[in-house]
């Protein structure tokens, strides 16, 4: 049996600000569906992706109530991705950079992601088959 693949992805963008976030989520989704062990290091603004208080809203411009608008919330994506990974025999270790959490006041995360530090990124990268750093502009 081949060894399970491990990948690490580091992201920096906060929610609703950059297409980079969606591409990162797409990559993680593919890896989760394959049952990989995935480490996500959320750095800088990306620590807000798992913020528990993200709330969906209606869209009067489109005449849709909150239910109809069904607005994506990154925290829901993260929860669903973690579940997908587990269901497929893999895992997602979602690490929020602790100092970035503190300065942004983003301590209320959904269950699952944990607080960490750059040492965790380094450790994960050393143990991974491949590491992708997605910077920001």
């Amino acid at each position: 049996m081949s060894e399970k693949k491990k990948i690490t992805v580091s992201i920096m963008d906060g929610p609703f600000e950059s297409a980079r976030t969606v591409t990162a989520m797409r990559l993680i989704d593919i890896a989760a569906t394959r049952g990989y062990d995935i480490t996500v290091f959320a750095y800088e603004g990306a620590v807000s992706l798992a913020f528990a208080k993200q709330t969906a809203h209606a869209n009067a411009v489109h005449g849709r109530d909150a239910g109809e608008e069904d607005h994506p919330l990154p925290r829901e994506w993260i929860a669903a991705l973690m579940q997908t990974a587990t269901q497929n025999g893999g895992s997602i270790d979602w690490i929020n950079c602790g100092l970035c959490v503190d300065e942004r006041g983003m301590s209320e995360s959904i269950p699952g992601p944990r607080r960490g530090s750059p040492a965790d990124l380094w450790k994960a990268a050393e143990a991974s088959d491949g590491t992708l750093i997605i910077g920001t502009r």
Binding site: S10, W122, S128, I133, G135
Partner: protein, 128 residues
């Protein structure tokens, strides 16, 4: 498996006032402290991080003064003290009207065509 990593930095001064750091330089320091081995390549306008005499002091917002402004040349010098070589792309330096004498001592200049060869000296390349 990441062993020796080249950190490419090319988006300077993005959040350096609020963070009092460049996040890519800062995380390199932090991971170096965790045992990682790195080199730093400054390209594009990030070569300006190696310019001597930068001064971000003096900002105040509603009387709330900034007391620890970032000093990129100091942070790069500290990295070099920790055996992290710092490279700048020579053409990017020259295109910006800079000369070698204006840069922090110890910074290594490479030509654009030499970047590919530099990649080969590292086990991984991370672009921040």
């Amino acid at each position: 498996m990441a062993k020796r990593v080249l950190q490419i930095i090319d988006a300077p001064y993005r959040c350096t006032v609020e963070e009092q750091d460049d996040p890519a330089i800062w995380i390199t320091h932090a991971m170096r402290g965790a045992g990682g081995e790195f080199g730093v390549l400054l390209r594009g306008s990030a070569v300006n991080y190696a310019v001597k005499g930068q001064d971000a002091s003096g900002l105040s917002f509603g009387g709330r003064k900034q007391t620890q402004p970032m000093n990129p040349e100091h942070e790069l010098a500290r990295l070099m003290e920790k055996d992290v070589p710092v490279y700048v792309v020579q053409e990017d330096v020259e295109e910006r009207g800079l000369s070698a004498g204006e840069l922090l001592p110890g910074v290594r200049s490479i030509n654009r065509t030499g970047v590919a060869k530099l990649f080969g000296e590292f086990d991984a390349v991370w672009h921040w």
